[in-house]
Structures are given as C-alpha cells and as structure tokens.
C-alpha cells in the first residue's frame, strides 16, 4: 500500500514542502488510498462532525448510564461556568464539559463518533466545540480539524496502538488529547511543526496512563480522563503556539508510548483487574452492578 506518510516527520515535511496544512495532506492520502472522490471523503467527515455535534448537545441536556456510575457532570460544569467563577478559564472548562458530555452519551450507549476510540471520544469534539467560540471557524475548517486529528491518529495507530487493551489509556485518551492539540494548533494558525510539538507535549504527559475501568465499564475513570485530556490538549496547543518545542521528536515519543504499553501488565490493560478497578470501592461497585451474575456464573445462555 502506497501511503504519503507513515510517521510524523514525513507528514510535517510533506506539509511544509508543499505549503499545505496537515489536514490537506490527510485528505489527499485518503483519496489516494481509498480511490474515493475528494467530495465523498469530505462529505463523510462532515457527517461525522454532525454526529459529534449531536452527541455534545445530548450530553449537555443531561444523560445517565444504565449502571448509574456516570451522567450529569457536563450539566454541572456548564452551570458552574455560567456563574463566572471558573478559575481555569471558560475555554478550558467549556472543552472539559463538552468532552464529558460526549463520553456520558457514550456510556449511556448513545451514538458517538470514535476519535480514535469510543472511550476517548470526548476529547477531539470537546476541544473543537470549545475553541470554535474563540476562533469562529468555517464549517470547512471544523472538518479540517478532524482530518488533522486523524492524520496524527493514523500514525499512532499504525506505529503504536490506539487500544486500551493493548497499550493502556495512554493509547486512547493519550492519543486523543495529543491529536486534538495538533488540530487546535492548525486551526489557530500555527505551523505543521507546531502541531507536531503540541502533539508531543501532550503525549509526554500521558505516558504510562493505565486502563483500569471499574467493572470493565467505559465510565469510571474514562469520563474524567476525557475531561483532563481536553484540558491538556488546550494547554499543550497554547505552549506549542508560544514557541515551546519538545526535546524528544514526536515519532520517538510515539515509539516510547508503544514500548511502555507493551511492558504494561495485563491487569492494567482493560481487564478491570488492577488500578482503580481493583480498589475496595471499585470492586464493591462491580459487585453492586453485576451482582451474583458476574461473580457466580460467567456463562450466559439465551
């Protein structure tokens, strides 16, 4: 398979040499690989953007998961912001609430768009719909935000992992936060290299993050990790736009994430056997949710 780029170095070099944004390189590669028309590719991303918008709207109205573990926090955060007392700033808290909104909808088995996974689906749209209020992007720029996120995610997925079961939460919310940071930079007018720096800055702060969902549900701590992932994405983007660079090149950061994931014990890779899932409260919640069913019999018959 001929690809235009297989790592971040090639992606940035291509964008800079052709004087194109990263989103454009991603669109061109998609057309090349899938042999679909540019219009079709953009229309599908437009549709994904609509799914994300609807998920945020639904989450901000307030949802509850069937387990009762998550739901309603997005509403709380929005109400708090409305008092004008937010200390960390309205854009960050808006992104946090919208990331939480998306993941609360996901936990409630609602319709979402995986970015790059369902468990990390809040971060890319959460940050997008928050910076939108400051940067006033066109619909096309919002679609491009998703292509730029996708370009970095494509490299991570192929060179490392985007699966919590394979690489821990660093592979999921870590990837999502880093992808979002790169996309924010492009939307804010930064260079392709600054996108790569933002990606690295965020990913370096996600390394080692384990996947330890209570009762195996994509709820605790997933929803709050999406919240912090969104916050880190914004801070990382701001740092890169300020001119801060990562001493370790992006592709080496991705490789480090991959190796850390491989050396993570299975108990900390989405098996619900370690970390927060194995705390007394985590185990008590699991027993409460699944009751005897989970404890006594693991064979379900129709």
């Amino acid at each position: 398979m001929d690809v235009l780029f297989s790592n971040v170095k090639e992606l940035v070099a291509l964008a800079e040499s052709q004087n194109k944004p990263i989103s454009e390189i991603m669109i061109e590669q998609e057309v090349l690989i899938t042999k679909r028309s540019r219009e079709e590719v953009i229309a599908q991303m437009d549709n994904n953007l609509t799914v994300m918008e609807k998920a945020v709207e639904r989450g901000l109205e307030g949802v509850q998961s069937t387990s009762g573990l998550t739901g309603g926090d997005a509403v709380l955060i929005q109400k708090y912001m409305a008092t004008g007392k937010s200390l960390s700033g309205d854009i960050i808290m808006d992104a946090v609430s919208k990331a939480v909104a998306t993941n609360e909808v996901n936990a409630a088995m609602g319709t979402i768009c995986a970015t790059p996974t369902a468990g990390a689906a809040g971060i890319v749209p959460g940050t997008l719909f928050a910076v939108k209020n400051k940067l006033n992007p066109t619909r096309e720029q919002m679609i491009n935000y998703l292509f730029t996120s996708g370009a970095f995610g494509f490299v991570v997925a192929n060179n490392a992992s985007i699966s919590g079961a394979a690489g821990g939460c660093q592979a999921e919310t870590g990837s999502a936060g880093s992808m979002a940071a790169a996309a924010i930079v492009e939307m804010a007018g930064g260079t392709p290299q600054q996108s790569a720096e933002a990606f690295s800055i965020v990913m370096k702060n996600m390394l080692g993050l384990v996947c330890d969902p209570v009762a195996g549900l994509v709820e605790v701590p997933c929803v709050k990790r999406n919240a912090m992932g969104a916050a880190k994405a914004l801070v990382g983007a701001d740092m890169a736009l300020a001119g801060v660079v990562s001493r370790i090149p992006t592709d080496e950061v991705i490789e480090a994430m991959h190796k850390i994931g491989q050396s993570m014990p299975s108990a900390l890779r989405e098996t619900a056997k370690g970390g927060l899932a194995a705390t007394p409260t985590g185990k008590a919640l699991e027993a409460k949710i699944f009751g005897k069913d989970k404890v006594d019999s693991d064979t379900v018959k129709s």
């Binding site: 599908q44 936990a107 979402i112 995986a114 996708g150 494509f154 992992s161």
Partner: protein, 220 residues
C-alpha cells in the same frame, strides 16, 4: 499497515460504549454472518482476554449478536439484539475462556444451522477495526478493508489459475491473495482481496468451476 483510512481513526460512528469491545465486536459478528451467507440458527461465542473479562460491561455480547443479525456499528437496534435474536430464532451462548489468545480482544464464533457450521476467529485491534484471523481452521488475515472473495476448494492443480482467470476476465485487480490447505489433496481455502466491487455474476461463475465447493464474499 493495520489502519488504512482516516475513518478508522475519526470513526466509526457507533453505539457506545467501546470501539474495540462494542463496535469491533459487532463487526466481527457481522463478518461471520456475511461469510455464513444467511441468518444462523445458533451461535457459540468463545471470548478471550479482555473480551472475556469485561464483555458484559462493554456490551460485547449484545454487539456480537447484533452483528450476527447483520446490524452495523451505528444501528440503534444493537441495544435490543438479545430480544431480536430470540424473535428470529437465533439461540446463543457466551463462553469466557481462561487461556491466552493471540490478541487481548479475541472472539471465536461457532455458528450454524441445519445446513452447516462455520467457525471464525476475529480480533478487535482498537478503534473499531477488526481482523479475521481464522476461518474453519484455516489461519488467514482478512481486514475487511477491501472487498474479498473466500473460496473453499479441493487442493487440485489448475483451480487457482481458473479462479484468477475468471477474475481477470472482468478486469478486476487482485490486491492480496493467499491460499492454504488442510492436507495435501484435501480441502483448501483461497482468500482474495480485490480493488473493485464483486458482483453476483462472478460469484456464480466461480461456483461453477470444477473443484470449487463454496464461494463467500465480503464487501468493503
């Protein structure tokens, strides 16, 4: 390359809560259904690794059954797949396994009806992307990225040439192809991924070839 499209990363559009444990699982079920060619009457689903540990919380079970009912990842009916299965007469059983599998998210589906049985092993590699790694005892690697032909045939000389000639005649380009057999002269399986869509005329032609016993297709 495990991931080919930007929509493997920004996507799929899906019912929550997990891309690997819900959407990927639904896709494994749906591929099994497609390759089986009809609605199975029963299913035995063996789950390994993280699938075995967390399938209930992630809705992996309803997603696989939804896939066997031909529901896509974004189909709201996934949520009611168990009830829907009962209505169409599909009985099922989930068996969490202790042993280590090749991937932490592995499912082995044995499905059948009065006319036949099929066994398929799929792995969900993250973000909703899956691969079929075994079919009826044949190891293979099928990503579902390309339209594919799966041809069960007798291990005889000329079968591969006949099949590739029939495909070439329609100007269809083969992207990837692998052939494996159980024993010399016994049952063999050809997996052919192609660049163009496959139509019924080609399937009929392939099925009529000598020593070809079964042709299944997988659309992109």
């Amino acid at each position: 390359m495990k991931y080919r499209s930007v929509f493997d990363i920004i996507g799929p559009v899906m019912i929550g809560p997990s891309s690997s444990h819900t959407a990927g699982a639904a896709r494994i079920g749906r591929v099994a259904r497609t390759l089986f060619g009809r609605q199975p009457e029963w299913a035995r689903v063996h789950l390994y690794g993280s699938f075995a540990e967390t399938y209930k919380g992630h809705g992996t079970d309803v997603a696989i059954i939804g896939g066997l009912l031909d529901y896509d990842t974004f189909d709201e009916r996934i949520k009611s797949a168990f009830a829907d299965a009962e209505r169409v007469g599909l009985t099922f059983e989930f068996i969490p396994e202790e042993e280590e599998a090749i991937h932490p998210n592995t499912a082995r589906l044995v499905i059948g009806d009065s006319q036949g049985v099929m066994e398929l092993t799929g792995i969900s590699i993250g973000g909703g992307t899956m691969e079929v790694v075994e079919l009826n005892g044949f190891p293979l690697r099928l990503s579902g990225h390309y339209p594919a032909l799966l041809i069960v045939h007798n291990d005889r000389s000329g079968v591969i040439a006949n099949v590739s000639n029939a495909i070439a005649k329609l100007n269809i380009n083969i992207a990837h192809m692998e052939v494996d057999r159980k024993e010399k002269g016994e049952m063999a399986l050809m997996v052919i991924e192609v660049d163009q869509m496959i139509d019924d005329a080609l399937i009929n032609e392939l099925e009529a070839l000598p020593d070809v016993t079964q042709v299944s297709t997988l659309a992109n």
